[in-house]
Amino acid sequence: MLYLSELIGLPVYDSSGKKIGKVSELAAIPAVPRPRVVFFLVRSAGDQQKRPVSLAVALKDVNSLSSSAIRLEVSQEKLSVFQPDEGLLLLRKDLLDQQIIDVNGRKVVRVNDLALEDRTVDHRMELWISSVDIGLTGALRRLFIGAVPRYWLRKLESQIKPTSIPWEFVNILEPDPRRQLKLNISHKVLANLHPADLADIMEELAPKERHAVFTTLDDETVAEVLSEIEPRLRPAILDSMGLARAADVVEEMDPDAAADLLADLPEETATELLQDMNREEAAELGELLEFAENCAGGLMNTDYVAVPASANVDSARQLISSMPELPENFTTIFLVDAGGKLAGAVPVGKLIVASGKTSLLDLRSDPILWVSSDSPEKDVVEMFDKYNLLSLPVVEDDHQLAGSITVDDIITLLCRKS
């Protein structure tokens, strides 16, 4: 096992034994699953005639690598000056001391050192990144290297339990989306994390890095993360996406979360977004936005399941199974009469055990509970507490069913207040 911090600064000698300079950087091809080092960049010692330059030493030209020197098989004249290439990962510049996402630990961490694995294939040395050191061992090595004999340092390190992340769980952050593409960085694994965990990670990143990550994620994942992320960050995130993408993302969000988000935006931006959205979704959102934020109407979601009160269990089941997507936290079916007025609520559990011919009206909970859309939040919370509710229908003045409030909305509300 080799460490990047130990390789940086090693003297390099060519085939004639002449010292060329010192290792200043390692360049790797961002291969999957692990990047492979292709060049040592050697900073040549400049003199009066020549200015110092970075020479590229291909790994195949290395004869031997020890803890004190690198010896080459070629002479200095054969080496060419390093041409910067955005598609190459520069280990010192791009990784050392930078932040990465530890996918397994679900957090953002800082790189103290890189562990490299060396293999000999056909008498040629190959060097692969194996893990990222984020713990005390890496910190000590960085602090004392060059100041304390290597032997002591290794001995000291062996006393401490290392904290490192295998490369498979490392997600690099590159703030420039164009270079991100060239480096082949995909954040696909991040989409598998729970949106709440991903939101926590995003909160820790700087805006540019956050933006770069969002550009690689699909609209649905971004929508879920946006619903979970700290509200104060939302306007800036949407802004950085551009109008068209932002509209796509907001469409994917739950209507109540989308309405909360739009309410936080400057009115001009919110209107532009609504205009850019699918007409149906925009109309729905527009209605939600009419309600004051701190009343039942502002809390409610328009994504709910309502069936005619005259239906029986079989037809209700059929209707539900034909729906393309069920609302989140789906626990209750609302009953409405022919005029769209609320006629009751049936818990989904009852639907499972009831026989197919039972009329839904016989299954409905008693009493019929509801709030009007202009009831204050406090009253809504009290009702959830008093009746131990999972969801509660919201009605307009004429008793028309307008939406539903679910218990997760209440928990979010209470947490924000405390």
Binding site: A139, R142, D239
Partner: protein
């Protein structure tokens, strides 16, 4: 109609970003600050007032750079130093910052001790109690709600403004000092000058301000508001300093009491307003300022150090998740408070040490700040202009010179 609306949006944005700069300014008027301003007024009367003008300019220039760096990069100063200058540099900066801040924390507990001694509470009771209170306040996560109480209590400084006016100071002489600077090569005067600068521009401020701006999520479009916040905070701080000096000049200096040896001496400046209750009022203000700063300093230090060195940090994490953060935080409070309890410890020496530590660290922090804020890959169009570089470059040279003067004066 739309005009009103636009103004509403403006004011809303302002309200949203007014904060970090203002809080930083207020925390800075801590025990050491009040003591230094009082002494400046008592000893030199109105003659040092003019120094507040260059100090204000330095303060605004430096803090504006910190805030701008935070807004544009979205990263803390410790993060940026780590990313751009590597581990070893960061480690030594963090080590000195911890040392300097430990001295500052000690000075805050000295403020707690002397303010409560006015009420007859022994420091052996007050200091441990406050230390435990501060520790729990932050660890239990109740700090945010208490911060408002601290901020409201900071309106105590208004009493200095009222007292300063009631004392019928010689405004003509005060105004003359502002426009006609007098500098004396007397060593006492120079030390006082360094003390004033040390009390206003501190290294930890730059880390704290930038972190607070980032934490708040201010983006580039709101930078207008952030800049106003910084300027407002600096001006408010200097106005308070101005009136403390004026009221001490009009009361203590005029009465010939040229030295301040205890909190009771300094409290006399409030007599025009509060009469015999002056010492109580002063004790309350000093206590609030000390506890406010003692709550923020150890926490800010632990955050900054862990951020820079890559350890987990945050009061929302469990002790096991962020052990170094909690240990550092706890030790800063325990050692800071513990030092005060050593019998016969010269408190003045402690405050001198904290100033020297600050003074030596500050130029380095400013050099890093300046080099970062000039990087076009980080800052884009928000990088420093030549004019800004001139002013901040001059500031750094000035601070280095003045710190060296202080060092030689004290050691000779």
């Amino acid at each position: 109609m739309s005009l009103i609306k636009r103004w509403k949006v403006r004011i809303f944005i302002l309200m949203a970003v007014v904060g970090p700069g203002f809080i930083t300014g207020n925390v800075n008027n801590d025990a050491g600050g009040i003591y230094t301003y009082s002494l400046a007024g008592a000893r030199y009367g109105y003659s040092m007032l003019w120094t507040l003008v260059p100090i204000l300019i330095i303060l605004i220039v430096v803090q504006e750079m910190s805030a701008r760096l935070g807004v544009v990069t979205g990263k803390g100063l410790a993060d940026l130093i780590r990313e751009e200058f590597g581990f070893r540099t960061t480690f030594f900066i963090m080590l000195s910052l911890t040392a300097a801040n430990l001295a500052n924390v000690t000075a805050e507990f000295a403020g707690v001790a002397s303010s409560l001694e006015i009420f007859g509470v022994s420091k052996y009771i007050s200091v441990p109690l406050v230390a435990v209170f501060v520790w729990f306040l932050v660890v239990r996560g109740t700090y945010k709600s208490v911060e408002k109480i601290f901020l409201i209590s900071c309106s105590f400084y208004i009493t200095y403004i009222v007292s300063g006016i009631l004392a019928k100071p010689d405004w003509l002489q005060a105004a003359e000092s502002m426009v006609r600077p007098t500098i004396s090569m007397d060593s006492g005067f120079l030390i006082m000058l360094v003390g004033l600068i040390g009390a206003t521009v501190a290294p930890w401020q730059q880390f704290y301000l930038e972190a607070a701006v980032v934490e708040k999520g201010v983006d580039q479009k709101q930078y207008f508001g952030s800049r106003l916040d910084v300027i407002f905070g600096c001006v408010a701080m200097i106005v308070v300093a101005f009136f403390i000096i004026v009221s001490c000049a009009a009361t203590l200096h005029v009465a010939g009491r040229r030295d301040i040896t205890s909190a009771a001496d300094a409290a006399a400046a409030l007599q025009p307003l509060a009469g015999e209750y002056a010492s109580w009022l002063f004790a309350f203000g000093l206590f609030n300022a000390s506890v406010f700063a003692a709550s923020i300093l150890p926490l800010a230090t632990a955050y900054t150090v862990c951020e820079g060195l890559g350890f987990e940090a945050g009061v929302n994490k469990k002790f096991r998740e962020a052990p170094i953060f909690y240990w550092l935080y706890t030790l800063l409070i325990a050692v800071g408070a513990g030092l005060i309890l050593i019998p016969g410890l010269p408190l003045v020496f402690v405050s001198y040490l904290s100033q020297v530590a600050n003074g030596f660290l500050l130029p380095f922090v400013l050099l890093f700040l300046l080099s970062l804020v000039n990087r076009s890959d980080l800052m884009g169009k928000y990088r420093n202009s030549n004019g800004q570089n001139l002013v901040s470059g001059f500031t750094i040279v000035f601070l280095i010179v003045i710190t060296l003067i202080l060092f030689f004066l004290q050691s000779s």
